[in-house]
Subunit: 348 residues, 2 copies
DNA sequence: CTGAAAGCGCTAACAG
DNA sequence: CTGTTAGCGCTTTCAG
């Protein structure tokens, strides 16, 4: 495997010039540069990443914790996020290292280890929670990071840090408004129990846009654990109401799938149902869903960490100079329900 | 950040002794070892990974290509594989680096780059195909790797390499046999078009175990592209037969979900349907499914690469010494269909 | 703009 | 068993 010295010799320059061609091309005379570049490609030279890292103390690598696979359909979002992250990172010449951890403490320990070896420059935190310990800890330790998920409590908000999130409230409100424009008068809601930041935000979007009074809202909303069965049961309840909803928006695709099945079972296969996250299942069964703009999320996260271009990690934000967060709007993906099995049966 | 020198000084030994304590503890006297260990933890010393890599020319890191997210439910298997891989790797002190690539050529180029920088010691190839170019290329280049997926053609089989796969044929045959023990007399099959190794294997399992003659087999089998809609349509056809199947086994959960919906629509909600891969969707809707033993797959892959313990990559196999592949049996996860929406509707 | 010198932190050889 | 001596390949001073 050739080294800088080999290249230098082949090009008839000093070792340093080669390094300059690679790292600060603008200060090298064009002719020399060409000669060096030629030598590089004819020798098939590749800089040795570890040597460079040892010297520069950076790795151009970002770390992401990869969660244990949770049951439920919604978990897929983080996987898609990881895919996107990898693609964008590759495009910027960054590498992505994944690791697993049993709990937040374990995650912090692993992060420390990865960083001390200069294995990883910066981290992406996913799934922020109420009272997330990670944010304060990493900020105190000076570990550069960006969170996918806004701060959900005042203490965490007070810690100035970088984050990107998707505006679930706006997404749901938009979907509800759209349904009403299509003629829906009573849009139901199936969401999660109160207390999860994400869930409460999404529900707030429904509340703001559904256009019915508090009593009707109480009747038209259900809050259950995430799951197809739960969504099915909740939807069945709503549909059995004296004044049933004429459309249902759900906090997740799992709930929405359940609602869709319940609607069919109740003889209302055309009931508009909207899910959240636009998972593959939604696409597969023809369910409308609110899609998180993961491409934009990832691009924003990398911008925050590394600046608009380049692979130099910026230190965590200290004062209030530039913006350190980004809230992105999701998009409704519309599909026609019922295009599926019913039509597919010959003779129906 | 402390270095070996700091530790050596604190412990009153030479720099080398510290290194020995870390890398060959058995050659250091117990008392000295203790003293060094104490210094290490009191200083919070961590070896610098890049320096070590530069010196030893290995990284204790494995690389995995992460595919662009495909639509369809089945893609989830590779994600779960990645999760498992990360967990097992962490347990062995290995790191996992993910990267994306546009196509197999691009993948090879990226692999070369990652390896030349000593960024990655070995690779895990997923989703092997007919005429997979990667296997020959990596073998020729001497890049250590293990494939998740057996060789599907004679040329690739002739290239001695390490691989792990799941015996889809045995899995399907087992499921069919089980259904027959439960009383099914005509077990149908919905699979993929001929030509995909995986699909053909699974179909062969059905063929071997279904216990009907060739004519009946022809009637009871459908081969369609993967997808819920396709599965639904195929199942509807089978159920409309003069002698319909009394159970259906499918090559994927997507197909099975479609079949399940079709069965309900056709008024046969209790028809046993079995999918493949045991994806979250199957669990969500209560679909039986054949589960790939990913834990075992990953453990076997790492064993093949690194030996039963340790983090030293073995070179690719040359002669026929040890076994270099492993075929694992999947497991049927049984669920009761129909526990879902129908029962959940109040008043039914 | 180009060249020479120094050293990042670590471990593989050797000599004691 | 312990200490000394050399680099791994690269970049960052600092003179020419």
């Amino acid at each position: 495997m050739p080294t800088v010295d080999d290249v230098a010799q082949a090009a008839g320059v000093s070792r340093q010039t080669v390094s300059n061609v690679l790292n600060s091309p603008e200060i090298v005379r064009e002719a020399t540069r060409q000669r060096v570049l030629e030598a590089i490609s004819s020798l098939g030279y590749r800089p040795h990443a570890s040597a460079r890292r040892l010297r520069t103390r950076k790795s151009a690598t970002i770390g992401v914790r990869i969660d244990p696979w949770r049951d439920g359909i919604s978990g897929a979002v983080l996987d898609r996020f990881l895919h996107k992250l990898t693609e964008h990172a590759d495009a910027r010449g960054l590498r992505v290292m994944v690791f697993s951890a049993a709990d937040p403490d374990d995650e912090l320990a692993r992060i420390r280890r990865l960083r001390e070896g200069s294995d990883v420059d910066a981290f992406v935190l996913t799934a922020t929670t109420h009272g997330d310990e990670r944010i304060r800890a990493l900020t105190e330790q000076g570990v550069p990071f960006v969170a996918f998920g806004r701060p959900w409590d005042p203490e965490t908000s007070a810690v100035r840090h970088r984050w990107v999130d998707v505006d679930g409230r706006a997404g749901v409100a938009g979907a509800v408004r759209h349904l009403r424009e299509q003629g829906a008068r009573r849009v139901g809601w199936i969401g999660w129990p109160h207390g999860s930041g994400t869930g409460d935000e999404r529900r707030a979007g429904w509340e703001a846009a559904c256009g019915v009074d508090a009593d009707a809202r109480a009747a038209l909303a259900r809050h259950v654990e995430d799951g197809v069965t739960e969504g099915s049961r909740a939807a069945a309840e709503l549909l059995a109401l004296p004044e049933p909803p004429d459309a249902i928006v759900c906090a997740s695709d799992s709930l929405a799938l359940g609602a869709m099945i319940a609607a069919r079972t109740a003889g209302r296969p055309a009931l508009p149902v909207v899910g959240f996250d636009d998972t593959p299942v939604a696409a597969a069964v023809g369910l409308s869903s609110i899609e998180q703009p993961l491409d934009d999320v990832v691009a924003a996260a990398l911008d925050l960490l590394f600046g608009p271009a380049g692979d130099d990690v910026r230190p965590n934000p200290s004062s209030d100079e530039e913006p350190t967060d980004r809230l992105l709007a999701p998009r409704l993906v519309e599909r026609r329900p019922g295009h599926l099995a019913l039509d597919a049966i010959p003779g129906t």
